[in-house]
C-alpha cells in the first residue's frame, strides 16, 4: 500500500500540509498554539462545553457536508482531507459581520463572551441546515454548548431571528462549495497515511480492507473512530494512544441501510448519520437518540465506538440488545457474528480478539405485535450520561406477552438483560400486575452501584418504575399523559 506522511487539509481559506502529526495532537491545540487562531476557546477539554466548536466539512457519498465538532477532543490527524472552519472565517472575505454574529449582537447574546464563538459556530451550522429553526430545534442544536452567563434566552432569540439577517444561499461556504469540493477531491489520493513519531504514530487507512490489514500488523494499536471517548483518554488521563488507527474518514464503514427486514449500520456511522434511518424505521429511538451527548459529539461519536468501548453506561447497547441486534466482528478477511449481548463479557472485557474490529451492527426491524420503548434517566435531561437506560421490546399476542427483551444500562457491570424480570412477564396477560411483578423481580437481576450520578436505590426504583411507565404508555386504558414532553 502506497503511503503518504503529511496530513493535508484546508483551514479556513488556506491549504495546510503538515508532516509528523502525532496521534495525540488535538485540533484545538494546533489552532490555538500553532496557528494562533485564538477565537476557538478551551473551556473543558472534554467535549462538554462547546467553547471549542469548529466546523469540519468532509466529502461523503452525498457530497461535501459541514458539521460542528469539538476541536478539543478531535485529533488533528483525523481532519486529513477535510475543510476546517473556525470563527475567524465566518465574516467572509468582505469582512462584514455574519448574519449569526449580527443577530447575536442585536439580541445581547453575549455577556462574558467566552462561550460565544462556540455558540456562533453551532448556530452557523444550524442556520445552514435549518435556516428557520423552531426553538426546540435550536435547543437540540445547542445541547453541546454551555453558557454560564446569559441563561440562554437571548441566544435562543438570536438563533430564531438569524434568517432575517441573511440566507444561507449567499453564505461563502455555500458559494464556494464547488471549489472546496474539487479541492478536497484533489486531496483524496487513495493512499494510506502514516504520520508522526514512532511512539505516537498516526495511521489513516485508505479503506476498510486497508484498516483490517493495518490492524493485523498493529494489533496493539488504538482504534480511533469519533474520538469522543479516546479524546478524553488523552486530554484528561494523559494516556498515550500511539500507534493509533484513525477510521473516522472511512466512508465505507459508515453505511446505514435496510437489508430485507434488517437495518444495517456500519460501525463507523456517527449518531448523526443514523438519525434519519432511525426516525423512519425505529421511531421509538428518535427522541432517545437526541439525548445522547450534544450535537457536536453526535457528529463525531459512532455507534461502533459506543459498543466497542464496552461501557456499562453507553446508551446504545441497551436499546440495541432489546431490539435483538447482532454485531459482526472482522479480523483480516475473517468475519464472525454474535448477538450484541454476548459481546459484553464483564466490566472492561469484551469478546474481541486481537486484530479484530467491529464492522457492522445488524438490527432486526420491529414486528407489528411488538411494543418498543427506550428510556434514559439522567440528572440533567440533555447531554448527560445515563444513571439508568433501558430498551424494552415486548411482543403481545391476543393479550398475552409472548416474548420480551428488557436490557438495562447503568444497572450492572455491563449492559445486561433482566432475565428474571423478563421471565416474570413472559406468558402473562398484558396487565399492570404483570409489570408490577417484573418490577418486583428486578432486584434478582441487578444490584446497581451508588455513585455521583445516582444511588443504588434510585437506580433500582427508577428502573422498576420505567417498567410501569412502559405499561402505562402502551396500555389502551391510560388516559392522562404520563411522560414529560421532550421539548
Amino acid at each position: 500500500m502506497a503511503h503518504r506522511s503529511e496530513i493535508r487539509f484546508v483551514l479556513n481559506g488556506r491549504d495546510v500540509s503538515i508532516n509528523d502529526v502525532g496521534a495525540s495532537q488535538t485540533l484545538l491545540d494546533y489552532l490555538r498554539l500553532e496557528r494562533r487562531l485564538t477565537g476557538t476557546k478551551e473551556g473543558c477539554a472534554e467535549g462538554d462545553c462547546g467553547a471549542c466548536t469548529v466546523l469540519v466539512g468532509r466529502l461523503t457519498y452525498t457530497g461535501l457536508t459541514y458539521a460542528p465538532v469539538n476541536a478539543c477532543i478531535r485529533f488533528l490527524a483525523s481532519v486529513d482531507g477535510c475543510h476546517v472552519v473556525t470563527v475567524e472565517y465566518l465574516s467572509g472575505p468582505d469582512g462584514r459581520l455574519h448574519p449569526v454574529q449580527q443577530a447575536m449582537i442585536d439580541h445581547h447574546g453575549s455577556q462574558c463572551g467566552f462561550c460565544t464563538p462556540g455558540f456562533v459556530m453551532s448556530l452557523y451550522a444550524l442556520w445552514m441546515e435549518t435556516p428557520e429553526p423552531s426553538e426546540a430545534q435550536v435547543e437540540t442544536a445547542l445541547q453541546g454548548n454551555l453558557c454560564r452567563c446569559t441563561g440562554y434566552e437571548p441566544i435562543i432569540r438570536a438563533a430564531v431571528a438569524v434568517s432575517r439577517y441573511g440566507s444561507p444561499a449567499s453564505d461563502h461556504l455555500n458559494t464556494e462549495r464547488a471549489t472546496v469540493t474539487t479541492h478536497l477531491q484533489a486531496l483524496q489520493d487513495g493512499k494510506r497515511v502514516v504520520s508522526g513519531p514512532q511512539n505516537n504514530l498516526s495511521i489513516l487507512p485508505a479503506d476498510v480492507d486497508d484498516f483490517a490489514e493495518c490492524l493485523l500488523s498493529h494489533p496493539d494499536a488504538t482504534i480511533v473512530a469519533g474520538a469522543t471517548d479516546v479524546g478524553l483518554w488523552v486530554t484528561k488521563f494523559l494516556r498515550s494512544i500511539g500507534p493509533a488507527i484513525f477510521i473516522g474518514h472511512l466512508n465505507d464503514l459508515k453505511q446505514v441501510e435496510t437489508q430485507g427486514n434488517d437495518l444495517l449500520i456500519g460501525a463507523g456511522a456517527s449518531y448523526t448519520d443514523c438519525q434519519d434511518a432511525l426516525s423512519r424505521h425505529l421511531p421509538h429511538l428518535s427522541a432517545y437518540w437526541d439525548r445522547i451527548a450534544g450535537w457536536q459529539v453526535r457528529n463525531m461519536g459512532t455507534v461502533g465506538g459506543n459498543i466497542a468501548n464496552g461501557s456499562p453506561i453507553g446508551d446504545t447497547p441497551p436499546v440495541l440488545i432489546a431490539l435483538g441486534a447482532e454485531i459482526t466482528l472482522r479480523r483480516g478477511a475473517d468475519r464472525r457474528t454474535l448477538p450484541l449481548e454476548a459481546f459484553f463479557v464483564d466490566y472492561g472485557k469484551q469478546d474481541r480478539q486481537s486484530g479484530e474490529f467491529v464492522e457492522t451492527i445488524r438490527i432486526p426491524l420491529p414486528e407489528p405485535n411488538q411494543h418498543h420503548a427506550a428510556y434514559k434517566i439522567s440528572k440533567r435531561r440533555d447531554e448527560d450520561i445515563s444513571s439508568v437506560a433501558v430498551g424494552i421490546n415486548v411482543s403481545v399476542t391476543d393479550g398475552v406477552i409472548t416474548t420480551c427483551r428488557l436490557a438495562f444500562g447503568g444497572m450492572a457491570a455491563t449492559p445486561k438483560r433482566a432475565a428474571a424480570a423478563e421471565q416474570a412477564l413472559v406468558g402473562q396477560i398484558w396487565s399492570e400486575a404483570a409489570f408490577d411483578q417484573a418490577a418486583a423481580a428486578l432486584p434478582q437481576d441487578f444490584s446497581p452501584l451508588s455513585d455521583w450520578r445516582a444511588s443504588s436505590d434510585y437506580r433500582m426504583l427508577s428502573a422498576q418504575n420505567l417498567l410501569r411507565r412502559f405499561f402505562l404508555e402502551h396500555d389502551a386504558a391510560t388516559a392522562a399523559p404520563i411522560q414529560l414532553a421532550s421539548a
Binding site: 494562533r36 485564538t38 477565537g39 476557546k41 473551556g43 473543558c44 472534554e46 462545553c49 467553547a51 473556525t86 470563527v87 475567524e88 459581520l97 454574529q101 447575536m104 449582537i105 442585536d106 445581547h108 453575549s110 455577556q111 462574558c112 463572551g113 467566552f114 460565544t116 456562533v120 435550536v138 435547543e139 445547542l142 445541547q143 454548548n145 454551555l146 454560564r148 452567563c149 446569559t150 441563561g151 440562554y152 434566552e153 441566544i155 435562543i156 486530554t235 484528561k236 434517566i377 440528572k379 435531561r381 440533555d382 448527560d384 455513585d451 455521583w452 450520578r453 436505590d457 434510585y458 426504583l461 418504575n465 411507565r469 392522562a480 399523559p481 404520563i482 414529560l484 414532553a485 421539548a487
Partner: protein
C-alpha cells in the same frame, strides 16, 4: 427613556456590551489569548491524592527529570511569606509544608517548556505522608470536634424563649443545601512577565486585581509598588475569581522572577474545579414559632457551613447568610447563629449572593413549613410575614427596612402571572393526573447592597481627555461579562453629553487606580460609576471655569449638549472646545473617588446599617414532575425585578435572566459529590451539570419594575443587579416541592434538600407516599 436623542449611548439606554462585536468574532482577547514573549514557560500544579494527612516528604526527582522540565516550586521557593489568605488569617499557604488538608490540594508546581510537559511531569511526584481521618461536611466536622475557620456570628433581637413558650405552633427541622461550582467558561489563568529590579507584571483573570497585586508582593517579599496586575476581561467570574486567583498569580510570579522568563499557568478544568473554592454548602437547623394565621413569632436558626480547610472569605459569606435569613420577612424575636466549620475540602469562597442565597432559602423553607402546617397557600404566609406595618420593619441586625416595595412588586407579579388562578388549575390537574404532577410557587427576594466589610465600599476612577477630544476611561472595577465597562462609559457619555464611541474603555490595571475593592457584591456600577462621575465632574468644573474666563459668560451658561459645548451664544464641537482648553493649559485629567455614605456595622454587637439599600424582586415558577422517575421540567417562569432606574435595561435584563438560570441550576442539577476518600467526583462539566438551553423555563417572562427608583442617591438612582435575581431560582425549587407535596394531599412539607435532583424528587415522592 433617553434624555437626549442626539447623543449615542447615554445612561438609561439599551447600549450593547462594549465587547459584543469582539465576542462574536472571536477577537476578544482573554488572558490565554495574549501572545507569549520569547522563552515563555508554563507552570502546572501537582496536587495531593488524600484528603487529610501529615506531610512527610515530597520527592520531586522524577518530576525534575521529566522531558521539558525547567524546575519545580515548593514552599521553600516562596521568597516572601508563604501565605495567600485573603483575610490575613495566615491559614492558607501557597504550598503546604507539614499538612495536607484536602484531596486535590496543590503541593508544588512544575515549570516546563510547554504546558503539556509540565502537566505530565506533575504526575510523577512521590508524596510520602501519614493519612489522617477526615471530615468532609459540616456535620461530620462538628462531630469530630473540628474548629471554626473564622469567628462565628450571632444576630439577635427580641427574646425567643418566652415566644417559644407561648406560641400556639412550633416546628423544628433541618435542611441541607448543597454548594455550587462557578463553572465560569474561562478557567483560572495567570501569566507573569518579569521586569527589572523587583518588578513583575501579571496578566490574569481576577475580580480583585488589587488583592492579587498585594498577594504577589507578599509572597515575593517586595513592596506592592513592584507589582502590576492587569485584567482586560474575564470569561465569567461569579465570585470564583475574587480570591481564588491569588494562588495562580503567586505561582506564575514566583516562577517568573526565579527563572527570569515569562510564566503562564492554566489548570485543566478538572484541576480548576478540584483545587479552587466553591459556594458553601450549609446545613440549617430551624426552630420556628408561629400563630394560627402563620405569622412568625420567633425563630431560632443555626447555619453550619462547609468552609473547607481555611477561612478564605467564609467569615463574610456565613455572615451574609445570617443577614439574609430573614429574606423579606419580619421576625419579632430571633436568634441566628453561624457555624463556619473547618472541613477537609477545598476552601470555599465567594459565589454570586455570597451566602445570601443560603439564608434566603432557609427563610423560604420556614414559610413552606408553616404553609403546610396551617393548610394555606404559601404566598399568603409570605405576605403575612412581609416587612411593613406598625413596628415590623427592623431586621435581625437592627437595620430599619425603609425602602420596601415588595407589596406592590409581588401583587403586580401575582396578577400578571395569574398566580391564584393557575394554582387552582394546577391543583385540579394534579387530582386527575396520577403520574405527572405540577407545582407553582411565587417567591420574593430582598437583598442588601454593600460590602459588609465597610471599608470595601470605596472606588476610584481615572478619566483623561486627550487634546483631540477622545476620552480614556479607567476605573477599579473588572469586566466579567456583566457590562460594567459599558455602564460606566454610559455614565461618562451622559455627563459629557458625548457619543459613547468617543470613550475608550481600557483594561483594569493596578497602575491606574490603586487599592481597589473586588468587583463583587453587585457593587461594581454603584461604586465605580460614582467614582467615574466624580472624575468627570472635576474636569467639567475646570472646563466651565475656563469658558467663564475666556468668553465672559456666567457658569450656568456653559452647557454640555449633544456633542457640543455651549458658552453663552458660542457653540463649539466637543473636540474643538477641548483643543482650546488644552491650549489654555487646562488639566484634562482627573482621578475620581467615591465612598458609600450612611453605612456602618458593629459585628461584635451584631448591630448597625450594613446595607446602603435593598434590591427587590420576585418570581413565579411552574414545574411538572414525573412521579415515576423524579424527572421534571420548568414550564413557565414570570419574573419581576427591581433595578431602580436602570442604567441599561438590556444589560440588566441579561443579568436577571442569567442569574435566575444559574440560581435554578444551583437548586436542581448542580450537585457536588465527594466520595469516601474525600475526592470530588463531580469535577468537570462531564459530571457536574449546569443548566443547558433546554433546561430554561419553557415560557420565560422577565420584566424590570420600571417604576422603581432608588430612594438613596445612587448613580442615576439605579440599583445593583448582579446577585439579587440569583435567589429567584428558589421559585423553581419551591414549585418542585409543591408538586411533590401533591402526592400526599399538600399536608406534609416535603422537606426537599437542595439540589433537588431527579433522584431527590423521586425519593421525596416515595417518602411522602409512604406517609412520612
Amino acid at each position: 427613556m433617553k434624555d437626549n436623542v442626539s447623543v449615542q449611548g447615554t445612561a438609561h439606554s439599551d447600549r450593547i456590551h462594549d465587547s459584543a462585536i469582539k465576542h462574536v468574532t472571536g477577537r476578544a482577547d482573554y488572558t490565554d489569548d495574549i501572545a507569549l514573549p520569547t522563552g515563555a514557560l508554563h507552570a502546572y500544579l501537582g496536587v495531593s491524592d488524600v484528603a487529610h494527612a501529615t506531610l512527610k516528604s515530597i520527592d520531586l526527582s522524577a518530576v525534575r527529570a521529566a522531558p521539558g522540565v525547567v524546575g519545580v516550586l515548593t514552599a521553600e521557593d516562596v521568597p516572601g511569606v508563604n501565605d495567600i489568605s485573603p483575610t490575613g488569617l495566615n491559614d492558607e499557604p501557597v504550598f503546604p509544608t507539614d499538612k495536607i488538608q484536602f484531596h486535590g490540594q496543590p503541593l508544588f508546581a512544575v515549570i516546563a517548556e510547554t504546558r503539556d510537559a509540565a502537566r505530565r511531569a506533575a504526575e510523577r511526584a512521590q508524596i510520602d505522608c501519614d493519612v489522617l481521618p477526615h471530615a468532609l461536611d459540616p456535620i461530620a466536622a462538628q462531630e469530630a470536634g473540628y474548629p471554626y475557620v473564622t469567628k462565628p456570628l450571632k444576630l439577635e433581637r427580641g427574646d425567643i424563649a418566652p415566644a417559644f413558650k407561648t406560641a400556639p405552633n412550633r416546628i423544628k427541622g433541618r435542611m441541607s443545601v448543597g454548594g455550587q461550582d462557578h463553572m465560569y467558561l474561562e478557567g483560572h489563568i495567570a501569566f507573569a512577565i518579569p521586569g527589572e529590579d523587583d518588578d513583575v507584571v501579571v496578566h490574569c483573570s481576577t475580580q480583585h486585581p488589587s488583592e492579587a497585586q498585594h498577594m504577589v508582593a507578599h509572597v515575593l517579599g517586595v513592596p506592592s509598588n513592584a507589582v502590576v496586575v492587569n485584567v482586560r476581561r474575564m470569561g465569567g467570574g461569579f465570585g470564583g475569581k475574587e480570591s481564588q486567583m491569588n494562588l495562580f498569580c503567586a505561582v506564575a510570579a514566583i516562577a517568573a522572577k526565579k527563572w527570569n522568563r515569562a510564566v503562564k499557568i492554566r489548570p485543566d478544568r478538572d484541576q480548576d474545579m478540584t483545587a479552587t473554592g466553591k459556594r458553601h454548602d450549609f446545613v440549617i437547623d430551624y426552630d420556628v414559632a408561629f400563630d394560627e394565621v402563620g405569622r412568625i413569632q420567633a425563630l431560632d436558626g443555626s447555619f453550619a457551613a462547609r468552609c473547607g480547610f481555611s477561612a478564605d472569605l467564609s467569615g463574610p459569606v456565613t455572615d451574609r447568610a445570617l443577614f439574609h435569613a430573614d429574606n423579606a420577612y419580619f421576625y419579632p424575636n430571633v436568634r441566628l447563629t453561624s457555624h463556619p466549620m473547618k472541613t477537609n475540602t477545598v476552601s470555599n469562597t465567594a459565589f454570586r449572593g455570597f451566602g445570601g442565597p443560603q439564608g434566603v432559602i432557609a427563610a423560604e423553607r420556614i414559610i413552606e413549613e408553616i404553609a403546610y402546617a396551617t393548610g394555606q397557600d404559601p404566598l399568603d404566609v409570605r405576605k403575612a410575614n412581609f416587612y411593613g406595618g406598625e413596628g415590623r420593619d427592623l431586621t435581625p441586625y437592627h437595620q430599619t427596612v425603609e425602602d420596601n416595595i415588595l407589596d406592590r412588586l409581588v401583587s403586580e407579579l401575582e396578577d400578571s402571572a395569574e398566580y391564584r388562578q393557575r394554582r387552582q388549575e394546577i391543583i385540579a390537574f394534579n387530582a386527575d393526573s396520577p403520574v405527572l404532577k405540577k407545582g407553582i410557587a411565587l417567591t420574593p427576594v430582598k437583598f442588601g447592597i454593600s460590602f459588609t466589610a465597610t471599608w470595601y465600599n470605596q472606588a476610584g476612577a481615572l478619566v483623561h481627555i486627550y487634546n483631540d477630544g477622545s476620552i480614556h476611561l479607567n476605573h477599579g472595577g473588572t469586566e466579567m461579562g456583566q457590562g460594567l465597562n459599558t455602564k460606566v462609559a454610559q455614565i461618562v457619555a451622559e455627563a459629557f453629553q458625548v457619543d459613547i464611541d468617543r470613550i475608550k474603555i481600557t483594561k483594569t490595571t493596578t497602575e491606574k487606580v490603586p487599592n481597589t475593592s473586588a468587583t463583587a457584591a453587585s457593587s461594581g456600577t454603584d461604586l465605580n460609576g460614582m467614582a467615574a462621575l466624580d472624575a468627570v465632574r472635576q474636569i467639567q468644573a475646570r472646563l466651565v471655569d475656563f469658558a467663564v474666563e475666556t468668553w465672559g459668560v456666567a457658569p450656568d451658561e456653559v452647557v454640555f449638549r449633544a456633542n457640543e459645548v455651549h458658552a453663552g451664544a458660542q457653540v463649539f464641537p466637543f473636540d474643538a472646545f477641548i483643543k482650546q482648553a488644552y491650549l489654555a493649559r487646562i488639566q484634562l485629567s482627573a482621578a475620581g473617588f467615591y465612598k458609600t455614605p450612611k453605612i456602618h456595622w458593629d459585628r461584635d454587637k451584631g448591630q448597625g446599617r450594613p446595607f446602603y439599600y435593598f434590591s427587590y424582586g420576585a418570581a413565579c415558577s411552574e414545574v411538572m414532575i414525573d412521579t415515576l422517575t423524579g424527572e421534571y421540567r420548568v414550564e413557565r417562569t414570570d419574573l419581576l425585578h427591581d433595578v431602580g432606574r436602570s442604567l441599561n435595561p438590556a444589560l440588566d435584563k441579561g443579568q436577571v435572566e442569567g442569574a435566575f438560570v444559574q440560581g435554578m441550576g444551583w437548586l436542581t442539577t448542580e450537585e457536588l459529590w465527594w466520595d469516601d476518600t474525600g475526592r470530588l467526583r463531580t469535577h468537570a462539566p462531564s459530571t457536574y451539570k449546569i443548566p443547558l438551553a433546554s433546561d430554561r423555563p419553557r415560557i420565560f417572562n422577565v420584566n424590570l419594575a420600571d417604576w422603581s427608583e432608588n430612594r438613596e442617591l445612587t448613580i442615576k438612582r439605579s440599583k445593583a443587579v448582579g446577585e439579587p435575581p440569583f435567589m429567584l431560582g428558589i421559585s423553581v425549587f419551591e414549585a418542585l416541592s409543591m408538586a411533590v407535596a401533591s402526592v400526599a394531599g399538600y399536608t406534609t412539607c416535603p422537606r426537599l434538600d437542595a439540589p433537588a435532583t431527579p433522584e431527590r424528587v423521586l425519593m421525596a415522592v416515595t417518602r411522602l407516599r409512604d406517609g412520612g
